[in-house]
């Protein structure tokens, strides 16, 4: 017999900004609501109206709808109901909430990706304010942070979040699942202005090629103009060995990230704070990325209470050549952003070098000197990069660049 009852979403004393919707299809009796909500006095009517409209769009006329709501926003309620419906009926229809105009921005290959905040794809409460914390990017994660039985509903929630949640200019990223599931994920997110797709457990360039062509097919079909960049995450020994190849697999690959939890597991060694076990992999990945002309991105730092240790980690990471890392808590963002940006002392030194270089060029001198010290061309190049970075970060006025 065909299933007649299904549920989606979450409820419980600790759940906030979410709801659990249980839908039971009936053959008569119309739509009957059973709503429990702490915002019932303020939104009871609009919650029912929304659900009624969604059911109607799926041509459901008779059903019992039980909603256990803890202050879910409309896009969350819509996602939960759609997920429940799709557990019961086969349909390609989508109930899309309005795409807010603030979300219509594109990004560039070379933009900063110092900090990227991971958000579990099935936890709406963490999404709503995520854009406020000044991360360079927001990652809506469909992979490891979503349990297998929630994968389908997370896609719909993430899709709705991409349309409705203002991320205030942060680069809009989605981490898809591995393999075929990941390809299906793309159909849920690419039409809704994703800037970048994170490809987990990437081990060879074919994986990237398949994903890239799937994305361009979707873009063509949906007439999407914005480019969708790719960031493969290397999480195994094989992936490290193939990292340069992966980096070159598509022109849309703009960064390579390393995932050390899985990498150390693959090696069969524990991940230590000193990180000697992954030093080779990290430096290898940095070299591969730089050789390919893209950004090397470091793994996340998983102890959210250790801010000082995080700071040290960031400094070491930057010293190795990494240009950013993932964040698993908003508290980590400012430490990471500050850590990867050049500090005042570096900027000052770079300024002096660049000025000396410009003086030398103006005076037709072949050799650049700062005081009694000779400055080699690579040092000048590095100083120029630092100045460029400082200007982009607003740490130096624009004229300095000239």
């Amino acid at each position: 017999m065909k299933r007649r009852i299904a549920a989606a979403g979450s409820a419980g004393p600790k759940v906030r900004s979410d709801c659990e919707i249980t839908l039971e299809l009936k053959s008569k009796g119309g739509i009957v609501f059973d709503l429990t909500s702490k915002v019932e006095a303020l939104y009871g009517r609009s919650i029912k109206e929304l659900c009624y409209e969604i059911l109607k769009s799926f041509d459901i006329r008779n059903a019992d709808v039980r909603i256990n709501d803890s202050g879910a926003l409309a896009f969350v309620i819509a996602a939960r109901l759609e997920a429940a419906i799709k557990k019961l009926i086969n349909s390609d229809l989508e109930y899309l909430p309005e795409f807010i105009k603030e979300n219509r921005y594109s990004t560039t290959a070379g933009r900063f990706r110092f900090s990227r905040l991971y958000l579990p794809g099935n936890t709406p409460g963490l999404m709503i304010n995520a854009g406020l914390h000044s991360a360079d990017a927001i990652i809506l994660d469909l992979e490891d942070s979503v349990s297998p039985e929630k994968k389908d509903e997370a896609r719909i929630l993430v899709r709705n979040a991409l349309r409705q949640v203002n991320f205030y200019g942060a680069e809009r990223m989605v981490r898809i699942n591995q393999g075929d599931r990941g390809l299906i994920d793309l159909h849920f997110v690419i039409p809704h202005n994703v800037n970048l797709i994170l490809v987990p457990k990437c081990e060879n360039h074919d994986q990237i090629k398949i994903i890239d062509s799937e994305i361009s097919a979707i873009r063509k079909k949906e007439r999407i103009r914005n480019t969708v960049f790719l960031m493969p995450i290397i999480e195994s020994a094989l992936g490290i060995e193939n990292s340069f190849d992966i980096a070159k697999a598509s022109e849309n690959v703009v960064a390579l990230a390393i995932g050390l939890e899985d990498y150390t597991a693959d090696l069969g060694v524990p991940r230590t704070r000193e990180g000697m076990e992954s030093l080779y992999a990290r430096t290898r990945l940095v070299v591969a990325a730089k050789a390919a002309g893209i950004q090397p991105i470091d793994s996340v730092f998983s102890d959210v209470s250790e801010m000082e240790a995080l700071k040290q980690y960031v400094l070491a990471s930057r010293a190795l050549g990494f240009e950013g890392m993932g964040c698993i808590h908003p508290r980590q963002i400012s430490v990471i952003n500050e850590g990867f940006a050049p500090d005042a002392q570096e900027i000052e030194k770079a300024k002096r070098i660049v000025c000396a270089f410009e003086d030398a060029t103006r005076n037709g001198l072949g050799v650049v000197a700062l005081g009694s010290k000779m400055i080699d061309p690579p040092v000048v190049k590095r100083a120029q990069k630092t100045i460029e970075l400082a200007v982009k970060l607003g740490k130096l006025p624009l004229q300095m660049n000239k």
């Binding site: 303020l42 939104y43 009517r45 609009s46 202050g71 926003l73 406020l132 914390h133 203002n166």
Partner: protein, 519 residues
């Protein structure tokens, strides 16, 4: 019989009589001049009291009987034991057993531990509560189950009502962490220490009868006394007046919520960039997680700039104590201690001074501390487009909080309200507050995670942060953003019946709360 109502100066419909007593509608800020003289309790004589000064009686019941407890009396208590109070409920349990009816409970605040008084509202022992109502008590009142009409006053409004004789306390039952047999009492010492008991001072001076209840009887004199024995009729010694871990939090905690931290950081940044945080500043912040975070950020700024706050006004917490002890604050004047560090500090540090609410907040006096404060950090359940504030009801219409010192504090030079733009889908910034507790002309700045709104009346503040990079927006823009995210809420529905009156600091009625319409 319909009660006559009028529209007050704030545009709210209020009754001219509350619980049979005539009431003055709100006339505007600073527009009501009181008349007459202060209330006086009956003149006592020493010949009624033991020469050896020993006023100890065997039990609370005996004390209540000796005070002549009878129908219709007003019983006052203070809230310094907070959620650990074991005595308030006991009073009404005894009264109920004695068959006394229609009492008025006049607490300085109520806490979840006081929920059992609902039983005594149900059985008729208590006619009404005049004080704060939280949680289930608020719900009970909002659903129209209380016989009399609740009256909510600020801490300052409460002492004003006592002083002016608007509320005549028949019996004050004052718990004291330490007391002597003569009735001198203080908030320190013993196992139920709460630091200070300043809220009880007015009760002790103006009540007809005063009972001090302690679990720590010390030798005469109990020193330094906050309540003086000359005002006290009876002393009762019990095993325990409170549950220590519920009286003060072991430690008050700075918020860990990244969203609230963001609001706190933005607040500190506003205080600095607007120039209101300066050397010699006077400041008051509460004990909520966000306020504590603000205190930490402010402390950092003071240290960095080598500035000192002239004084801070409590409720004190360890974060304020840190400023005092590390030299960024000269004095703490304190009406209540919120954590163990604060209790310890008030016991030991001569620059941490107990300061009765009488002197800080009473509007009918010759000046208040609050108008001397530069920076006042407050909360709110709702703020409207005219900057009016609500602290007692939620948008669903239910009475859920007391006013506390909130109304009194609005008289500070810069009233800053850091609030999230919405809480669990409920917008904080609304078209019109459900219940008016404070007029918008006294509220200066609203700081949310999505922007800062400055009251258009404060042109100076608006100018001071021009070009500062702070996300300044109009309150209308913030409201619209909240509604864009949450959806426009429908209005709560009310019956005509008035369940509670909200008094302004001068004793006039600024608004009422009506019975929730159910079904």
């Amino acid at each position: 019989m319909a009660i006559k109502t009028v529209i007050n100066a704030a545009g709210r419909r209020v009754p001219l009589k509350i619980n049979g007593q005539s009431a003055v509608p709100f006339k505007g800020v600073g527009k009501h001049w009181p008349e007459g003289t202060k209330h006086s309790p009956p003149v006592p004589t020493c010949s009624d009291y033991p020469c050896d000064g020993n006023k100890v009686v065997r039990s609370l019941e005996e004390a209540l009987r000796k005070c002549g407890l009878r129908n219709g009396m007003t019983i006052s208590t203070h809230h310094h034991l907070r959620d650990g109070d074991l005595i308030s409920n006991r009073i009404f349990e005894l009264a109920s057993a004695m068959g006394v009816k229609d009492l008025v409970w006049f607490p300085s605040a109520s806490f979840p531990c006081n929920d059992p008084v609902i039983n005594y509202l149900d059985d008729g022992t208590i006619n009404r509560i005049e004080g704060s109502m939280n949680g289930p008590l608020g719900r009970y009142v909002s659903e129209g189950k209380m016989k009399g009409t609740a009256v909510l006053r600020s801490h300052g409004g409460r002492v004003q009502a006592i002083q002016d004789g608007e509320v005549k306390i028949d019996i004050a039952v004052l718990v004291a962490p330490s007391a002597d047999s003569f009735g001198n009492a203080r908030g320190t010492g013993g196992s139920s220490a709460c630091g200070v008991i300043g809220y009880a001072k007015a009760d002790s001076m103006y009540a007809s009868k005063v009972i001090v209840v302690t679990d720590n009887l010390v030798d005469f004199p109990c020193f330094p006394m906050e309540i003086e024995g000359n005002y006290v009729d009876y002393v009762v010694v019990v095993d325990k007046i409170g549950v220590p871990e519920k009286i003060v939090s072991g430690t008050t905690q700075v918020t860990k919520s990244p969203d609230r931290l963001l609001i706190a950081e933005l607040t500190a940044s506003f205080l600095e960039k607007s120039g209101i945080l300066k050397d010699g500043v006077t400041i008051q912040a509460g004990a909520g997680g966000t306020s504590l975070a603000i205190a930490v950020f402010v402390h950092e700024i003071l240290k960095q700039k080598d500035w000192k706050a002239k004084f801070g006004f409590g409720g004190s917490t360890k974060y304020m104590i840190n400023m005092l002890e590390e030299g960024q604050m000269n004095y703490i004047l304190d009406a209540q201690a919120f954590d163990l560090d604060a209790v310890r500090s008030v016991e030991k540090n001569p620059n941490h001074i107990p300061y009765p609410v009488f002197n800080a907040y009473n509007y009918h006096s010759k000046g208040n501390l609050t108008s001397m404060m530069d920076i006042m950090i407050l909360g709110a359940t709702e703020i409207d487009l005219n900057f009016n504030g609500n602290v007692v009801t939620h948008s669903d219409g239910y009475l859920l909080h007391g006013i506390g010192g909130w109304q009194n504090c609005l008289h500070a030079r810069n009233v800053i309200i850091p609030v999230p733009l919405f809480r669990d889908r409920i917008p904080v910034i609304v078209d019109q507050v459900t219940t008016l507790c404070g007029p918008g002309e006294l509220i200066d700045v609203i700081i949310t995670e999505r922007g800062i709104a400055i009251n258009p009346l404060r042109k100076d503040l608006i100018k001071s942060v021009k070009g500062s990079g702070l996300p300044v927006r109009t309150i209308k823009e913030l409201k619209e953003e909240a509604e864009r995210i949450c959806g426009k809420p429908q209005k709560a529905r009310f019956e005509e019946d008035i369940v509670a009156a909200i008094k302004w600091v001068d004793g006039t009625v600024i608004d009422v709360v009506r019975k929730i319409k159910t079904g």
